[in-house]
């Protein structure tokens, strides 16, 4: 015999739960009535800063966050205005974005793709962020960019150097100001050939993940184009801490250059090992042995101490540049925080200003309108000279800095010296370049969400 268990309280509970469930999609996509995700309705607009606040890149993340706070301050009319004063586009007047005061929320990427996606998702769905920006790793950038594409949010990438971010994994809603592996190779190779000669044998140690592969490929192609020979290219696990067993075999080959396609802790440890093993004192093929680090970061160079002296690499920006934009940014950052900004801080500050300016020019927060305003946008005054935000792949094209570890640093910030500013024409490539995913790589179409 069956018995009904329907009670008044049960019905109320079920009803409330079902109601909340049905209402949830609407709550999570607040503003959907305006035609795009998280359309700002009040007098403020919220940006989402997704940076590594824990994990191995936490110091880089902290510097990015400082730059974001500075950018928000400048956008809202505070401080000395920084690079707003030197930016060639003059839509930013210190009254927020489109007259709305800029507010922000932050997320912790932990330099893990899943954590970064979760924090970005939370900022979009719970905090109503209309744009997501930040990150200090290509894996994270590619993952968050894909999420923003699905959610209908603009993604302004932070520090991400892999070709794939604007290569095979490019997205219509994603934009990158930072340079990439291809550009590093193209800028470095002529300087290396000039300094060390065209008859060189290179041995590559490469971090075993996406960024490592694209950097190795870019540097191998560019240096081979200059006449160098690649003796070997060995992948090293990302979790490796002691590189002695990878460095020692280099001594047994006839290689006379070691290229370390490593970043962060990997770079610090492999470079330290290479120097300890006396590679820089060696003479092979009647030539002094040399070490090259394709992507330099000042924050990371500090960890390697005196080992970086005289070693070539490339960087997106350096505080010692003397153009008006760089001087203005270094001054406002340095005055506020007491030390010069890193390249990570610079690129995210630029991205925030570029986004704000694009919204102002588009007169809309609609991601598709913003994307259109950014595409093929030419600007100057942000520290890298004349720059193009190419529409075909959403990659910024600008001069690339070739740097060298300084022999006699005057402070802990003065570790790199700029040896050449490689003109943008030399690092240009076609959008369907094989290193960038070839002809199959497409942006897809812009997604305004909601």
């Amino acid at each position: 015999m069956s018995k009904s268990n329907v009670t008044r309280r049960g019905v109320l509970k079920t009803g409330a739960a079902a109601g909340a469930g049905l209402a949830l999609p609407t709550i999570l996509t607040a503003g959907s009535h305006s035609g795009f995700t998280n359309a700002p309705t009040g007098s403020t607009v919220t940006l989402g800063f997704n940076v590594p606040q824990s994990g191995p890149y936490a110091d880089e993340g902290a510097d990015e966050l400082r730059a974001y706070e500075l950018a928000v301050e400048h956008l809202n009319g505070g401080g000395d205005g920084g690079m707003i004063n030197t930016f060639s586009s003059k839509t930013l007047e210190g009254n927020g974005i489109l007259g709305k005061k800029v507010e922000y929320v932050t997320g912790d990427t932990q330099t893990k793709s899943d954590a970064a996606r979760a924090s970005a998702k939370s900022m979009i769905e719970k905090d109503g962020a209309v744009m997501i920006t930040g990150g200090s790793s290509s894996g994270v950038a590619v993952a968050v960019q894909a999420l923003c594409q699905e959610a209908g949010i603009i993604f302004m990438a932070g520090l991400t150097h892999s070709n794939d971010t604007t290569g095979k994994d490019r997205k219509a809603n994603g934009f990158r100001h930072f340079f990439n592996s291809y550009m590093s190779g193209a800028a470095l190779a002529p300087v290396l050939a000039n300094a060390y000669g065209k008859d060189r044998k290179a041995y590559h140690l490469t971090a075993d993940y996406n960024w490592g592969y694209t950097t190795e490929e870019a540097v191998v192609q560019a240096t081979e184009g200059m006449g160098w020979e690649t003796v070997n290219a060995v992948k090293t696990p990302l979790t490796q801490t002691d590189f002695s067993s990878y460095i020692a075999p280099v001594l047994q080959t006839d290689a006379d250059v070691l290229v370390l396609n490593h970043y962060g802790g990997n770079m610090i440890n492999s470079l330290t090992s290479a120097v300890q093993f006396g590679l820089r004192d060696k003479v092979v093929n009647n030539k002094d042995f040399q070490i090259v680090v394709p992507l330099y970061s000042r924050l990371m160079a500090r960890g390697a101490g005196a080992n970086v002296k005289g070693i070539f690499g490339s960087t997106n920006w350096h505080w010692s540049l003397t153009d008006e934009g760089s001087k203005a940014f270094t001054k406002s950052f340095g005055t506020k925080y007491g030390f010069p900004p890193s390249q990570a801080a610079h690129t995210v500050y630029c991205q925030t200003l570029l986004y704000a300016d694009a919204v102002n020019r588009a007169k809309s927060f609609n991601p598709c309108a913003v994307a259109e305003a950014l595409e093929d946008f030419e600007f100057d005054g942000l520290g890298n000279g004349k720059t193009l935000y190419r529409g075909a792949d959403h990659q910024c094209f600008k001069d690339v800095l070739v740097v060298k570890g300084k022999e006699n640093p005057t402070s802990e910030f003065d570790l790199l010296e700029v040896v050449e500013v490689t003109p943008v024409a030399q690092v240009m490539y076609e959008p369907d370049h094989p290193q960038m995913g070839g002809a199959e790589a497409t942006l897809g179409s812009c997604n305004p969400g909601a």
Binding site: D208, T241, I268, F277, G303
Partner: protein, 341 residues
Amino acid sequence: MEALILQILNGLDKGSAYALIALGLTLIFGTLGVVNFAHGALFMIGAFCAVTLQRILSISRETIDETRTDFLGNPLKVDIPYVYDWFGADAGQMIINWSVPLAILFSIPIMMLVGVIMERGLIKHFYKRPHADQILVTFGLAIVLQEIIKAIYGANPIPTPAPAALDGSFDFGVLIGMENIIYPYWRLIYFAFAMITIAAVFAFLQFTTFGMVVRAGMADRETVGLLGINIDRRFTIMFAIAACVAGLAGVMYTPINSPNYHMGMDFLVLSFVVVVVGGMGSLPGAVLAGFLLGILESFASMAQVIAIIPGINQVIIYLVAIIVLLTRPRGLMGRKGVMEE
């Protein structure tokens, strides 16, 4: 041939760190029966003792150099360490350069204290709890410790070089009648240091009355207790000694790789594999397995080997662990009855 010898040296060097950490882990497991997942954190704290001493020795007074400017165009602030004032610039700089060897003395009392506080303050409350609880609490402790270090010192590695006199490399080959085996001094010092430390721990356990009681306690804790010996206090001291061994391994490791807050975790998992391969509770087993796995890992990362078996460098240690556990479940030198009930 030279390549093989180089990789053996590298393996012995890596093995030194594994063996020292695994030795401490085994000591703690053998005496207290606790699986200590915070042991890697002790290695990391040791390394940061060296960083701390370097910072203490570099405490400076600030002077203004009017002739130079900083990045903002203001007169440059120059830090002059107090040791320069006290001992002269050359001697002062030499003292700072020797901060890593000096940190050996500096770290011993600190590590002993950390060990005692850790054991008395937290771990003793978990003796009668299942191993799973012990693992969880010590793992939690490791996370807390590394976050504290990160809050104080930041996330980036901090360069802690060896003294200039010991920082270079030399041709090891000439010692054995060969050529072109360039090897860094400090790595050989690290290996020698590890051998001395391991020998000292074994001698202490083998030839002192204290060590004899501890060994008896490891074999049969209850009977030793019934004989009226306060075995708990001795085990606390053994925990402190194990912490000290891990700490010293950390101090000496700092010139090899710049220390950072997660270096403990990097070593912890491998050290556990070392303990399991060596045999839970076997001190000689831990040392043997440490060196063995260090050497195998070095060989597996040779380009020629990777060319034959791609990816072997990433899995070799775990592969060996699986083979050992399948063929000899109690480990290379494990005693019957330990963790086998």
